[in-house]
């Protein structure tokens, strides 16, 4: 229970970073933290006390392994996160090249 809440606190820190920071790199960092928090949350959901890693060994029976499904999903989600982060960074680099700054208060050629 406490772990879940702490994990969501991490999520909220990332959210705060995305919403409040005025620097492109900081926003990307916030996005990364959101992704970490989500992944951690999903893995926490699949944990069992005294569980074993879901890899069978030759001499042991399959007993009390942790849930493999969230781990598979989180693997997918890590890779998706990598893709998104890389894309956003490349956009940020191009923006830096055009404007010479990472500060979004100075980047407002578009009206809201």
């Amino acid at each position: 229970m406490t772990l879940y809440i702490l994990c969501l606190v991490l999520f909220c820190i990332g959210l705060y970073g995305v919403l409040r920071k005025r620097n492109l790199i900081k926003i990307i960092v916030g996005l990364g933290i959101i992704e970490y928090a989500m992944n951690l949350f999903f893995v926490l959901l699949g944990y069992r006390f005294h569980g074993r890693a879901p890899i069978a060994a030759q001499d042991q029976n399959i007993l009390n392994m942790v849930d493999p499904l969230p781990q598979a999903l989180v693997l997918t989600s890590i890779v998706i996160g990598l893709g998104v982060t890389a894309l956003v960074i490349s956009i940020a680099i191009r923006i830096y090249e055009k404007y010479g700054t990472f500060d979004i208060t100075k980047i407002k050629r578009l009206r809201g």
């Binding site: 999520f11 959210l15 995305v18 492109l24 926003i27 996005l31 959101i34 992704e35 989500m38 949350f41 999903f42 959901l45 499904l69 969230p70 999903l73 997918t76 989600s77 998706i80 893709g83 998104v84 894309l87 956003v88 956009i91 940020a92 191009r94 923006i95 055009k98 404007y99 980047i107 050629r109 578009l110 809201g112």
Partner: protein, 503 residues
């Protein structure tokens, strides 16, 4: 091998086309053009064929089990009335936009990359529509959104990059809300198959967690659909993209990612209650009015159209939020019509941009004389969006208003009428300043756009004109099946699991 085998091809064809284009597009000239045209024409035909197959299938539902695993354990693909309807909408629009982009994209460098991304976007949308698994929906949603982030920035100018960054950040936050929602649902039900989740949720006592999850989904998909409190990215992203991509984004992407997913989750998985419906109705009416009022003061053609997208999405959501069969019917019908005429309008604006090199309403004028095809098709589309009789927009708006009155929501009906009048006003302005009136000097010798662009605009305009015919009884089954899927709500679970287990 049975008839359900057709379903995975909606994903395989665009995916294979994308990989092949990126591999061979640079080596063989014109390969990318031919390949993309071939694949989208094939998808167009296949989607209509799938609709025909569906009406022959027993129980009006087809389920395909990937890898032969039985549903709660493997992933299954589901084709029912609603998804067949969405497939036809997406693939029809995508086909005409492909035709249009063949000439339009000559303005940009590196056409093979454009078509690769375009094809991936279609693949993502088709994947969202046919999937029967919640996490799989998330994965394909990411494919569609990542390719759209990249496509918005395709011109690599300063404004485009900025709009794309904004869009990418808001889109990723939306995705993270959706992912968190999926995580909560998995923790609660311990399954990911949509039908199975619906079954488990109907057994377990209704709890706080379901409301929390639906709020998360509402935020996530609302961001993707650009409902009003979450709309900030849309007016930047849509005008900045190349015109054919604006047409895709506005015409079908926000509907597939936003409205379809919302409908699927709220009606078929969680089961719509009165509270959700009233939230949806309120958001719909709110976006309808705010969108159209903001649109009135715009002078950039594409930006004006983008605000109208918000407003029209409001109509769709209002219709669906009514929850009565007539309301849902009208909402879905309006969704189809809006895809057609809004993509047509964006294509028109692209044609204006292509020929006259400007999108500012103050600079253009009298273009109908030199560009007759663009002028007339845009007149048809404008009348259609404003709801003038013989065109399709009129019928769907009329039915939405009737449905509102039937349910006794006179306030919402009034909102819809006001929105419609304001839409008419703003499109009168567009027609006056762009296509009619005095032909400005300097535009004397511009030419009409190339053949494929003309062809696709004419075809879309023709669909606008005959769209009203869909109310005829012989064609009405197309919509009725979709409506019945939504109305039956969580009965979805029983039918999907039943079909899957019997096969």
């Amino acid at each position: 091998m049975n008839t359900a085998t057709i379903i995975p091809f909606f994903v395989i064809i665009p995916l294979g086309a994308a990989f092949l284009i990126s591999l061979l597009g640079r080596l063989i000239r014109r390969f990318s053009d031919i390949m993309i045209l071939f694949s989208s024409a094939l998808l167009f035909g296949l989607s209509i064929y799938a609709r025909v197959l569906l009406s022959q299938a027993s129980g009006k539902i087809l389920v395909y089990k990937i890898g032969g695993w039985v549903p709660p354990f493997g992933i299954c693909m589901v084709l029912d009335g609603l998804s067949a309807f969405m497939l036809v909408t997406v693939n029809v629009v995508a086909f005409f936009i492909t035709l249009y982009s063949l000439s339009y994209m000559e303005k940009y460098t590196d056409k093979p990359k454009f078509f690769t991304l375009f094809s991936l976007m279609v693949c993502g949308m088709n994947g969202i529509i046919v999937t029967g698994d919640l996490f799989n929906l998330f994965v394909f949603l990411e494919i569609a959104s990542i390719s759209s982030y990249a496509l918005v920035a395709f011109g690599t100018e300063a404004e485009e990059l900025e709009a794309s960054f904004k869009y990418a950040i808001m889109g990723s936050v939306a995705s993270s809300f959706i992912f968190l929602g999926i995580a909560f649902l998995y923790g609660f039900t311990s399954t990911l198959n949509m039908a199975d989740i619906a079954r488990v949720l109907s057994i377990k006592p209704n709890a706080w967690i379901v409301s929390f999850v639906s709020v998360l989904f509402l935020m996530g998909f609302g961001l993707k659909a650009a409902l009003v409190p979450f709309h900030a990215w849309l007016p930047d992203a849509h005008p900045s993209a190349p015109a054919s991509i604006s047409a895709m984004l506005s015409g079908i992407l926000i509907k597939t990612l936003g409205v379809y997913a919302l409908v699927r989750i709220f009606f078929n998985i969680i089961g719509a209650t009165h509270n959700y419906l009233s939230i949806l109705m309120f958001l719909g009416a709110f976006s309808m009015l705010v969108g159209v009022i903001l649109a009135l003061s715009q002078w950039d053609l594409k930006r004006l159209l983008a605000y109208h997208s918000i407003s029209q999405i409001g109509y769709v959501v209002l219709g669906i939020g009514l929850g009565t069969p007539l309301g849902i019917f009208a909402g879905l019908y309006h969704l189809f019509n809006h895809s057609i005429f809004k993509s047509l309008l964006f294509l028109n604006s692209g044609a204006v941009d292509y020929a006259a090199e400007t999108r500012d309403l103050k600079e253009t004028g009298g273009l109908a004389k030199v560009m007759p095809v663009t002028g007339w098709t845009s007149l048809i589309a404008s009348m259609s969006i404003a709801g003038i009789p013989p065109f399709n927009g009129f019928f769907s708006k009329l039915i939405i208003i009737i449905a509102c009155v039937q349910k006794g929501c006179l306030g919402y009906a009034l909102c819809a009428v006001i929105g419609s009048i304001l839409t008419l006003a703003s499109f009168m302005k567009v027609q006056k300043f762009v296509f009619f009136g005095q032909l400005k000097p300097g535009f004397q010798n511009i030419k009409e756009v190339p053949l494929t662009m003309k062809l696709s605009m004419i075809c879309l305009a023709a669909i606008c004109v005959i769209g009203g015919l869909m109310l005829l009884p012989s064609l009405k089954f197309f919509l009725d099946d979709a409506v019945s899927v939504v109305i039956q709500g969580t009965h979805y679970a029983a039918s999907v699991l039943g079909v899957a287990l019997n096969q």
